[in-house]
Amino acid sequence: MTANRLAESLLALSQQEELVDLPKDYLLSGSEDEGDNDGEREHQKLLEAISSLDGKNRRKLAERSEASLKVSEFNVSSEGSGEKLVLADLLEPVKTSSSLATVKKQLNRVKSKKTVELPLNKEEIERIHREVAFNKTAKVLSKWDPVVLKNRQAEQLVFPLEKEEPAIAPIEHVLSGWKARTPLEQEIFNLLHKNKQPVADPLLTPVEKASLQAMSLEEAKMRRAELQRARALQSYYEAKARREKKIKSKKYHKVVKKGKAKKALKEFEQLRKVNPAAALEELEKIEKARMMERMSLKHQNSGKWAKSKAIMAKYDLEARQAMQEQLAKNKELTQKLQVASESEEEEGGTEEKVEELLVPDVVNEVQMNADGPNPWMLRSCTSDTKEAATQEDPEQLPEPEAHEVSESEGEDRPVAEEEILLREFEERRSLRKRSELSQDAEPAGSQETKDSSSQEVLSELRVLSQKLKENDQSRKQKASSEGTIPQVQREEPATEEEEPLLLQRPERVQTLEELEELGKEECFQNKELPRPVLEGQQSERTPNNRPDAPKEKKKKEQMIDLQNLLTTQSPSVKSLAVPTIEELEDEEERNQRQMIKEAFAGDDVIRDFLKEKREAVEASKPKDVDLTLPGWGEWGGVGLKPSAKKRRRFLIKAPEGPPRKDKNLPNVIINEKRNIHTAAHQVRVLPYPFTHHWQFERTIQTPIGSTWNTQRAFQKLTTPKVVTKPGHIINPIKAEDVGYRSSSRSDLSVIQRNPKRITTRHKKQLKKSSVD
C-alpha cells in the first residue's frame, strides 16, 4: 500500500519536474514581457545588500509590491493553488502561432513519453536486493534436497564419501622418474640396452617397429586372409571333433580306437622298414610309456571309474567286460616287449603276483563269477583257497540261483513294497549261503544255510514290520507279508546250531555286515522279547499256523508277565476285526498314561489345582472393612462381643469387583494383578517412530543374533548406520560427489565482476511483490 502511494506521489512529482525541465529558450522568450518585474526584484536585492553592509544583520520582512488574495508566509504568491497545472494549459497559447512549431513538437514528444520513476531510497533498494539474492540462493540450495533426504534415510553411509581412485600412473611416467641405482638394477638396464629392449617406452622393441614398417599392405592382407582360413579350418575341425565326441555308441568308439591302433602299427612297421633308427626310437617311446604306466596307477582299478565299475560289476556284464579290458590294457602296457630269455618264468611269476597284489580279488572273482556276488563277501574265501574256489564256483552257482527262483516262485504274489524288500533279503541270504558253501565246501548244507540266513531275515524283520505299520496298506498285502513270517519262524529253532558254525569259522570277521550280524546274534535273545507282541498278534490272526502255536503262546505269556510289572492290566483278547496298528497305538497310549499315573501316584494334582484356584479367587476378592470398636458405647471385656447391631452398622461392605477373567475357565488361573517385577522390564508407552503396538512388538520379536540367523543375514541385520574409516579425512560433501555439476565459475571471479547495483528487473519484481 505504502509503495503504491509512494509511486503515485512520485509520478506527480516527476510530472512537475518535467514541467520545470521545459526547454530554456522557450522560457526565456516567454518571460520577455515580464522584464520590468525582474528589474524591480534586482533593485530590491541591491537595496538589501546595501542595508546589510552597515554591520547590523537586520532581517527585513519582504515587502509586498502587488496585491494578492492569499498571502504566503514564504513570500510566494499562491494564487491558483489547488488547481493543478496541466501541460495543455501551457500549450494553448502556443497553438495559435505557427512560428513555434518546433517547440510544439518537442512538447508533444514530452507528452507522449512515459515518466521516469523516482529512484527508491537506499534502504528500499537494499531490501529488494537482499530479497532477490535470497530467492536465488534458496533456489540454488534446493538442489540439495534430494541428496540430503537420501542421506538421512540411508541404511548405511560410508565416509569419506568420495571414492578414492587408485592413482595408477602410466609406466612411462614412473620409469622416466626412476633411475637405476643399485648394481643389480644397472646390470639389468645394461642387458636391456644391449638387447635393444625398450626401457622407457615398453610398447615396441626396435625389431617390432622395424617389422611393422617392413610389412606392406598387400602382404598384411594376404597374411590376414591366411590366418582367417586357418581359423576357419580350425573351427571346422573342432566342430567335427565335438560331433564325434558326442557319439555315444561304444561300438563306434571301439572301432575308431582299433583303427587308430592298426594305423599306428602299420606306420611302425613301415618305419621299421624304412628307417630302423626311427623305429627304435618309437620302440623306446613305447617302452617309456610302459614304464610310465607301471609307475602310475593308471589303468588299474584304483581310479574313480574303476571303483564305480567294480561296484557295478556284479550286476552288469558290460561293466565287467570293461574292467577286464582295462586290466588287459594294463597288462599289455606293463608287459615288456623284448623278453629277456633267462628270467622268463620268474618274471611271469612275479608279474602274476604283482597283478594279484594290485588288482583286488573282486575283479578276478567277478571275472569268474558270472553272477557277480558282493566283493566284500567274497574276499574271505578268495584269500585262502582262491584257485579252488574259482574252479568250483561255476558249478556251485546254479544251486543258489535255483534256490532263489524256487523261493520267489513259491511266494507267488503281487509285487508290493514288502515283496521287494523281502526279495532283497533273499538275495542277501543267497549270497551268504554261497560264501559259506565256498568256505566249507560241503555239498548239502541246506538246513544250515537256512539257519544262518534266517538270522538275517529275522533281524530285518523288525524293519519290515515298522514299514508295514507306516504303510498301513490293504489287508491282503499285509497278509502276503505275514505269510512269509511263519516260514521264518519255522526256522527259528535252528538258531542253537549257529554257534558251532561260528566256531568253525577260523577267520576273523571281515566285513561290516558280518560284524552287524555278530551283534545281532548276541542281542538276539534280548530282541526277541519285545517283538513277540507283534508275533503273538500275528499268530492269533493266522490260526492255520498250528505247529508254531505252543511256542508263540509261551512267549506271549512271558510278555504279559513283563507288562504286568508295569501296568497291572489284564491282557485283552483281541478280535480279528480290530486293526493291529491301532491296538498297538492304544497300548502305547495306555502305557504312557499308566506311567504318568504311577509317577504322580502320591499327589493329587487336580485337587491341588482346584484348591489353589479357590484360594486365588478368595484372595482377589475385595475385603469387607469392620470398624466396630468393642467396648465403645457398651460394656466390653473378656467374653463380651459387640452387639450384632453395632457390628452391622460399622461393617463397611466392599463393593463387588468385576468378574474374574478365569471364571468360566476351569483349568486356568489368570492372575489379574500387575507384576511390578516384570513391569520394570516392559515398555510402558509406544516409542516414537512406531504407530501401532504390533509394529513395535514385531521388531522386538525378530531376533538379530547369529544364534537365530544365518551368517549373511546376521551381517545384513547388524550393519552399522555410519561407517568411517580410521585415519581418513572426511571432507564436506561436494556437488561432484553426488553427481551434480559444480559451478564452473569461481566465487572470487563472480564477486569481482559483480558491481553492486539495482536493475530494472529487480524493481519490477519488487512492484509485483508489493501488489501481491
Partner: protein
C-alpha cells in the same frame, strides 16, 4: 552292498588355514533356540552395561599455553596437526599423536580472536586485538630465519573472527562489518554490513562455498551471499548467538550456539522456525562444531562441560567434563570424526573420544561383528526402561547437577503459569506458541 556309516564331507568341517575359525555346523531350527527375545534382551542389557563400563572418553590434555585458549583450528590435510590461539596473543601448533607442541608463535598483542587454516594446509591466518590480520606459514622458519608472518594487514577496527573460503584464496573477517578479502590484496574486495553492532563470528558454508553466516551482538544471525555481495536474511533470536556452524553434509543447515543455554538448528531457507532446539546446557553455549559426517555436533559451554548432540535430537547423547576443566571456550571435531578437542579457560586443550566407549585401534573382524551386534541390540531395546536408565545415566559435577534441577523447576513453573494463563483467559486470546517458535523474535528480509 552298501555299507552304511556316518560320513561327513571334510569341506564342511575342515578349515583352510589354522587361522580360520573352526567350522561349526549350525542348526537354525527355531525350536532348538527358544526364548529369543529374553535372550537378546539380556544381551542388550549386558551390552549397555559394558558400554558404560568402558566409557572412558578422556584421552589427553595438551598443556603449554600461558593463558586461556581462545580459538582452535584443524589442519585440513593432516589429522595430527592442530592450531590454537590463546588470550595472550600466542599461537601454538600441536602434534596430536605425540601430544606435544611443535611450534609457538607470539602472533598478536592481546587476544588471538580468530584462527583459520588455508584449504590447502600450507598457511594459516590469525586475527587479534591489535587490529591486524596475519598470514603465517604452516612450516616453521628455517635455520636463522625469524618467525615472521607472510603478510600482515593493518585494519581500522578490531577483527573478532576470521574464516577461510573452502576452495579459493579468499577469506572473511568480521568486526564492525563482514569483510571479504582476496589473499593478494590489502583491501577487502567486498564489505557487507547490516546494522551497526559488532559481529562476533563469521563462517563460510563448506558445501555451497559462496554462502556466509555471521552472528552479531544485537542478537541476530545474518546470512550473506559472497557472489552477489549482499546479505540475504537476518533472524533475531531471544538472546545473543555466540557462533554458528554449518553442517558439512547438508548445505542449508546450520546450528547456532546461543547465550540462552540452547542451540538452534536452522534451515537457512526457513529461518522463522528452527528445525530443532537443542537444550541441555545450563549456561551460555560458547562454541559449536559439526562432526564431519554431519550427523552430530559438539558444543562447548560456559558451564564447564561439552556436550554431543545428534542433529535430529533435542537432548544431548553425551556430556564430557573433568574436575579441572573450566569454561570451555572453543571446541572442534576432528576430520576423521573420531575425536573431539576443546580449549578452555584454564589454558589446556583436551582431547576426547567422540564415542566414549569405543575401542581405539584396529579391530579384528570378530570384535567388529560383536560391536555391531551390540550396537544394534542397544538400538533395538533402547526403549526398555531398564536399558534406557542405564544408557542415560551420566555422572555430573555438582554444580551442573544442581543447576539442572533448578532449571527444571523454573521451567516447570513457567509452563504452569502459561497453562494457567491460557486456562483463565478467554479461549483463543492467549496464543499457544511452540517451543521452537518461542525463541525467534523476528526474521528480517
Amino acid at each position: 552292498m552298501k555299507v552304511k556309516m556316518l560320513s561327513r564331507n571334510p569341506d564342511n568341517y575342515v578349515r583352510d588355514t589354522k587361522l580360520d575359525l573352526q567350522r561349526v555346523p549350525r542348526n537354525y531350527d527355531p525350536t532348538l533356540h527358544p526364548f529369543e527375545v529374553p535372550r537378546e534382551y539380556v544381551r542388550a542389557l549386558n551390552a549397555t552395561k559394558l558400554e558404560r563400563v568402558f566409557a572412558k572418553p578422556f584421552l589427553a590434555s595438551l598443556d603449554g599455553h600461558r593463558d586461556g585458549v581462545n580459538c582452535l583450528a584443524k589442519h585440513p590435510k593432516n589429522l595430527a596437526t592442530v592450531l590454537s590461539g590463546a588470550c595472550d596473543g600466542e599461537v601454538r601448533i600441536w602434534n596430536l599423536t605425540q601430544r606435544n607442541c611443535i611450534r609457538t608463535i607470539q602472533a598478536h598483542e592481546g587476544f588471538v580472536r580468530g584462527i583459520c587454516t588455508r584449504f590447502c594446509g600450507t598457511s594459516f591466518f590469525t586475527v587479534g586485538d591489535d587490529k591486524t590480520v596475519k598470514q603465517w606459514k604452516m612450516d616453521g622458519p628455517g635455520y636463522g630465519e625469524e618467525e615472521e608472518p607472510l603478510h600482515t594487514i593493518l585494519g581500522k577496527t578490531v577483527y573478532t573472527g576470521i574464516d577461510h573460503h573452502w576452495k579459493e584464496a579468499v577469506f572473511a573477517t568480521c568486526g564492525q562489518q563482514v569483510d571479504i578479502w582476496d589473499e593478494q590484496r590489502t583491501n577487502p574486495i567486498c564489505s557487507m554490513t547490516w546494522g551497526f553492532d559488532s559481529i562476533s563470528s563469521v563462517k563460510f558454508n563448506p558445501v555451497e562455498t559462496f554462502l556466509l553466516g555471521s552472528c552479531a551482538s544485537d542478537r541476530n544471525i545474518v546470512l550473506y551471499d559472497m557472489r552477489q555481495a549482499t546479505p540475504l536474511k537476518k533472524v533475531i533470536l531471544d538472546m545473543r548467538t555466540n557462533t554458528i556452524c554449518w553442517n558439512p553434509m547438508e548445505a542449508f543447515i546450520f546450528t547456532a550456539a546461543n547465550e540462552d543455554y540452547n542451540l538452534y538448528t536452522f534451515d537457512m531457507r526457513a529461518l522463522d522456525t528452527p528445525v530443532m532446539v537443542h537444550m541441555d546446557h545450563v549456561s551460555a553455549v560458547l562454541d559449536v562444531d559439526y562432526s564431519p559426517t554431519g550427523k552430530e555436533f559438539v558444543s562447548a559451554s560456559f558451564d564447564k562441560s561439552i556436550r554431543i548432540f545428534p542433529v535430529d535430537k533435542s537432548r544431548s547423547r553425551e556430556v564430557y567434563h573433568t574436575k579441572r576443566m573450566q569454561h570451555v571456550i572453543c571446541v572442534k571435531w576432528t576430520s576423521d570424526s573420531k575425536y573431539i578437542m576443546c580449549g578452555s579457560d584454564e589454558m589446556n586443550i583436551r582431547l576426547w573420544k567422540a564415542n566414549a566407549s569405543e575401542k581405539l585401534g584396529v579391530l579384528t573382524s570378530r570384535e567388529k561383528a560383536a560391536k555391531d551386534y551390540n550396537q544394534k541390540l542397544k538400538e533395538k531395546f533402547q526403549h526398555y526402561p531398564h536399558i534406557k536408565r542405564i544408557a542415560r545415566h551420566r555422572h555430573l559435577p555438582k554444580s551442573i547437577y544442581s543447576q539442572i534441577q533448578e532449571q527444571r523447576i523454573m521451567k516447570e513453573a513457567r509452563r504452569r503459569k502459561e497453562v494457567n494463563r491460557i486456562k483463565h483467559s478467554k479461549p483463543g486470546s492467549v496464543p499457544i506458541v511452540s517451543e521452537k517458535k518461542k525463541h525467534v523474535v523476528a526474521v528480517v528480509k
